[in-house]
Symmetry: C2
Subunit: 133 residues, 2 copies
Amino acid sequence: MIETTELLKEYQLKATPQRIKIVSMVDEHGHISIEDLYKEMLQEFPSVSLATIYKNINQMIESGLIQEVKIPKTKSVFELIKEPHLHMVCDKCGKIEDISVGTDKVIEEAQRLSGYKIKESFITLRGTCPDCA
Amino acid sequence: MIETTELLKEYQLKATPQRIKIVSMVDEHGHISIEDLYKEMLQEFPSVSLATIYKNINQMIESGLIQEVKIPKTKSVFELIKEPHLHMVCDKCGKIEDISVGTDKVIEEAQRLSGYKIKESFITLRGTCPDCA
DNA sequence: CTGACTGCAAACGTTTTGCACGGTA
DNA sequence: TACCGTGCAAAACGTTTGCAGTCAG
């Protein structure tokens, strides 16, 4: 709770109750869609507006606190920006997990083949999770 | 240059002039957005409708002829489905290139760490292309 | 010839905007 | 207190749908 408030301040965002709730929900869920954010938010703030959610999400993206994750064939979700990681998506239950895997070899190879100077990588893997297998 | 008419028939799609144009534009551009597709299409078919483009793109996706590529911070583009490959996006000029890089090591490692049975991978790398460097 | 495709217009869902009020620093 | 953020309503988008006329097979 105090942690979330600090986090918002670090990113120069006023710590309003709505923002605190948004950030802690993104943190707790790991990945969350606008729709789910709104639904869950309504329980605590029955008159919260979707406009407020969109405005805040966009501000948080601009400040570099969160980012949008675009996943093939599904709606976008948002996550806190942290260490680089990959996304694993379960094709049965739809759950999304982060994992850390070394990708240097692939990136070096891509750099060599393409001549690009690579700065960022976005990797999503789709398959079946252990629970659904 | 591909045999667009043949390709459409292979995927059980009637070869209308509009569809032929759509497929050849996707092929020529490699990656193209709905908006660009529509703009360029208007030159040859001044009364083409956006609805026609959407309907056809969706049908082509269902038939497995093309797929949507979602790229962070930009609008989606569409491409013909072919060999697995990665996408390189230039952060200066925005151009998108395909490259083939072995990703087995990363996928194996991800599989081992997560316990997922991985079926597909989507990789986008962002950096500066040789022309813009 | 017949079902599928096109273009138009309307409907829809999602995201953004403008404004008056209310709350944070 | 001075802003900035919120909620509401309306507007702006992007995409989908229904329908009547047209065309590919």
